[in-house]
């Protein structure tokens, strides 16, 4: 058992390391360097700027770029990483860790709420659908679930912004919190904290909603499938024969056994949600890590992109790691993979 934990931990570390190395070289293989991206931005935003002025500014930018050979840069980066230094963003001019520390909590905020909501709604809906299998409710709910699962979440986001944001002005259409609000999170100032959180939620509402609408359908369908399978199992017959109430059967037996396989999926979905924030945050101009990833891409800001990539990779690896290790605790039937014979 010890051996298994050690193995998995080692594997996690190796995974992160290889992904990061892969990303490092992939990024620099991209055509265009930061100076090119900068030149493009200048020309686009200042069409009247003289060629001389443009060349002058691009030169200035170029002086800031590292020009050591690639493997040297790689080693520098790795040594920096090990001491917690993620480098400095080319475009923003501040340490990458600063940018990420500021943006990450927001993405976690929105994505965890979105995940929880879609999971909760999906599970409940799926269970009900399974119990009422074959009924109009089941068919109707299935169709709706599939329908919403068939639209990209950022498209729903755009439509939501259009209707609820601009047409009816019920929600703000961008930003993480209102300009006048002071970010306060402290137990000593409960009222301000609540006000702030409320404001933050109001701003994040459409983003969360876009994700949840699409994802709930997916969870519902899976739950339905699992539940139906469990409902056909023999031990339920036994439970009924024993005289257990339907309610008890539903929650203790069906519910638990149907949800178990989804547990792993949920943990893995965390990683995917972080990755998916890349597009959603652009649509909502919500400066979380996904937003900065794209900003970094457009400017070819390698350190920033690497930093965001690292964060996302760690999130996914952590999710899978925890899922693997704890699944054995939750589901007594499962054999840990380490028990190989």
């Amino acid at each position: 058992m010890q051996r298994y934990y050690l193995e998995r931990t080692l594997q996690a570390v190796v995974t992160v390391a290889s992904v990061m190395s892969l990303a490092f070289f992939l990024l620099r293989l991209m055509p265009g360097n930061p100076a090119d991206a900068y030149r493009a931005e200048l020309i686009q935003n200042n069409p009247q700027m003289t060629q001389a002025e443009i060349d002058y500014r691009v030169e200035r930018k170029l002086n800031v770029l590292p020009d050591a050979p690639l493997h040297e840069q790689y080693l520098n980066y790795v040594t920096g990483l090990l001491s917690g230094d993620l480098g400095e963003s080319i475009n923003e001019g501040v340490p990458v860790s600063e940018i990420i520390a500021e943006a990450l909590p927001w993405t976690i905020f929105t994505m965890s709420i979105a995940l929880l909501i879609s999971f909760a709604i999906g599970i409940s809906l799926g269970a009900v659908m399974a119990y009422k299998e074959g009924s109009y409710f089941d068919s109707g709910a299935s169709v709706v679930s599939i329908l919403f699962n068939s639209i990209p979440n950022y498209i729903i986001g755009i439509l939501l912004i259009w209707f609820l944001g601009y047409q009816f002005e019920l929600f703000p259409t961008g930003g993480r919190y209102s300009t006048e609000m002071e970010p306060t999170v402290g137990l000593l100032e409960p009222i301000q904290t609540l006000a702030f959180l409320g404001d933050a939620l109001w701003h994040a509402a459409l983003l969360i909603l876009s994700y949840a609408i699409v994802a709930s359908g997916g969870w519902a369908l899976r739950m339905r499938g699992n539940s139906i399978q469990v409902l056909g199992e023999d031990y339920l017959r036994v439970a009924r024969l024993r005289g257990l109430s339907e309610r008890r059967i539903a929650t203790r037996y069906v519910g638990r056994n149907a949800v178990l396989p989804l547990y792993t999926a949920l943990l893995i979905a965390i990683g995917f949600a972080l990755g998916g924030s890349v597009i959603l945050e652009q649509v909502f101009t919500y400066p979380g890590v996904g937003y900065y990833m794209i900003e970094g891409l457009e400017a070819r800001d390698y350190p920033l992109m690497m930093g965001v990539f690292l964060v996302m990779t760690i999130a996914v690896v952590l999710g899978v790691y925890i899922a693997d290790l704890t699944y054995g605790l939750i589901d007594p039937r499962a054999q840990t993979r380490g028990g190989e014979h």
């Binding site: 991209m30 055509p31 139906i228 989804l262 990833m293």
Partner: protein, 346 residues
């Protein structure tokens, strides 16, 4: 003589023990049986299930449009009609209206279908082949090979998918739909490989596989006969997933401006152009956005519906009920014991 006495006779004489069953089938019978097993029986199940029926029809519709549409309907051309015409306002000339450059929207949708289908098929096949190959090899071979393959699979599975795709797209700027399809699904095969591997592991411990091994059947035969049918549900689900990812990711990437496009528009490009062209601001241009949106939604819908409906196809008991030549008299258990692996991810 009655049968009974005949057989008694056989035992007495010892013939019974030397008799070998007369199992040689004629070639024709064997093929017929194969056909029934692989195509007719599944087909009947599919047809039986309403969801699968509708899903398959939708998919078939798109395939037909992809194959014959461009030949039957005019090609989109700049300025072939007035700008931003609303649907049906000019009779049947522009059934879905025109965009900001005067191109017929229905024409664009139809002519973009072949390349979208190519993208989806390429992605789906890539995922399936990679996933199945890696998964079965790892599960079956075990040992060192398994460890290495599993490590690679895990790494690929944990790379954040969308950011990776974004970077690859920026890197390679693919224009060929097949290449694009491959890039967009580059990380999906890992999940399938993992599932297949665990399936293979659990199946290969079953006695019938050991029996096959004992009988000296070659590895590929074992894989095809015993293992593949059991992993088909996962494969189908993953194929649908991959297709869905190709559609959604391609649109997302056009949105972000990361994928290049040329004058041959595809649905994702249409959506991007519609949004940035202000189709949401002006009701008269809304059709420009809604048309491609409905198109992709319908296709995704069809795909998911189909995979939902075909779950049961892979439950051997349900299959047995629908075939005519298997000759099995097993009592099927409840219909509810469908081999479902649930719905679609995310």
């Amino acid at each position: 003589m009655s049968e009974r006495t005949e057989s008694l006779h056989a035992i007495d004489d010892g013939e019974a023990f030397e008799a070998v069953s007369d199992t040689t089938m004629s070639r024709e019978e064997r093929y017929r049986r194969l056909f029934d097993r692989l195509i007719l029986a599944p087909g009947r199940i599919v047809w039986d299930d309403l969801r699968a029926r509708i899903g398959a029809s939708i998919i078939l519709l798109y395939v037909l449009v992809g194959l014959f549409g461009p030949r039957l309907y005019k090609a989109p051309r700049v300025n072939q009609g007035p700008r931003s015409v609303t649907p049906l306002s000019e009779g049947l000339a522009y059934p879905l209206g025109t965009d900001n450059l005067g191109r017929d929207i229905l024409a664009q949708l139809i002519h973009a279908t072949p390349s979208m289908l190519q993208m989806i098929t390429a992605g789906g096949l890539f995922v399936t082949i990679m996933g199945v190959t890696v998964g079965t090899t790892a599960g079956y071979a075990g040992g060192r090979t398994d460890r290495v393959l599993s490590l690679i699979t895990d790494i690929v599975m944990t790379i954040p998918g969308l950011p990776l795709i974004v970077i690859l797209a920026a890197l390679l700027a693919p224009q060929n739909p097949i290449v694009t399809g491959l890039i967009l699904t580059v990380n999906v095969w890992a999940g399938l490989a993992r599932e297949i591997r665990s399936q293979v592991l659990s199946i290969s411990r079953h006695s019938y596989v050991e029996a096959s091994k004992a009988m000296g059947l070659s590895t590929p035969t074992i894989i095809v006969k015993d293992i593949l049918p059991n992993i088909m549900p996962y494969v189908l689900i993953t194929f649908v997933n991959a297709a869905r990812q190709v559609i959604f990711a391609s649109i997302g990437l056009y949105f972000l401006g990361v994928l290049p496009y040329d004058s041959v528009v595809n649905w994702g490009v249409m959506i991007d152009q519609a949004v940035s062209g202000g189709a949401m601001h002006v009701v008269s241009m809304a059709h420009w956005l809604i048309a491609p949106l409905a198109t992709i939604t319908l296709l995704s819908f069809g795909l998911i519906l189909f995979s939902q409906g075909t779950d049961r196809m892979f439950n051997p008991r349900v299959r047995a009920r629908h075939s005519t030549t298997t000759g099995s008299d097993d009592e099927p258990t409840d219909d509810d014991a469908a081999a479902t692996t649930g719905g679609v991810v995310r």
